[in-house]
């Protein structure tokens, strides 16, 4: 079974530039998550999708971050403009959970490491 695919693996940009990350979840997984993991910290949820609807985006800095999951499959996370403090690994995860209240393990991708100079 193919895992969660993410690209690019690494990205270096200057502050105020824009960047986009792509994620393709495991086939059949209804729930997709974007987490931000700053070095030495635990993953922090940015946004959670259930199919193509947003379940939780309360911790997404909406003035600069946006995410979409068209057709309920793959997803894109964009940062525009980037700040120095956005340097982190952006982890995409998916789970089978078919309702927002159900429980399930998360399968993570390898992550996209962003460095903002």
């Amino acid at each position: 079974e193919a895992g969660v695919a993410q690209s690019p693996r690494y990205k270096i940009i200057e502050k105020r530039q824009s960047v986009a990350f792509w994620c393709n979840p495991i086939s059949g997984h209804a729930t997709l998550y974007w987490y931000q993991q700053i070095l030495g910290q635990g993953p922090k949820l940015l946004i959670q999708f259930q199919n193509n609807g947003v379940v939780d985006d309360s911790q997404l800095p909406k003035d600069r971050f946006s995410a979409e999951r068209l057709k309920g499959v793959d997803s894109t996370l964009k940062i525009q403009p980037a700040k120095l403090e956005d340097s982190a690994v952006y982890l995409c995860a998916s789970s089978l959970a078919r309702t927002s209240g159900s429980h399930g393990e998360l399968f993570f991708g390898e992550g996209s490491r962003l460095t903002v100079l």
Partner: protein, 111 residues
Amino acid sequence: GQQVMQIPQYQHVQEGEDFTTYCNSSTTLSNIQWYKQRPGGHPVFLIQLVKSGEVKKQKRLTFQFGEAKKNSSLHITATQTTDVGTYFCAGRQTSGSRLTFGEGTQLTVNP
């Protein structure tokens, strides 16, 4: 908002020693999950606990969920060098679906 705290932040042990990490939530949880992240890797699911007072074992790993469903622990017996990594707990609130991760405990094992 919900906070999930883990202690210790770092733990260095000699191979063969035991290791325990503790997780505490500011709110009651519907379930708690544990993940392991190897250096340079991504979090990998270990286990989920749902019931109050639940205890589960995986070989040398023992997971516990507190009676009040606000705390949990992971105990590793006789650590091996393959146990190296950061262990995260992640709690899900009873009132929502967000999975909140703790800051993790980084384990190093000296051979």
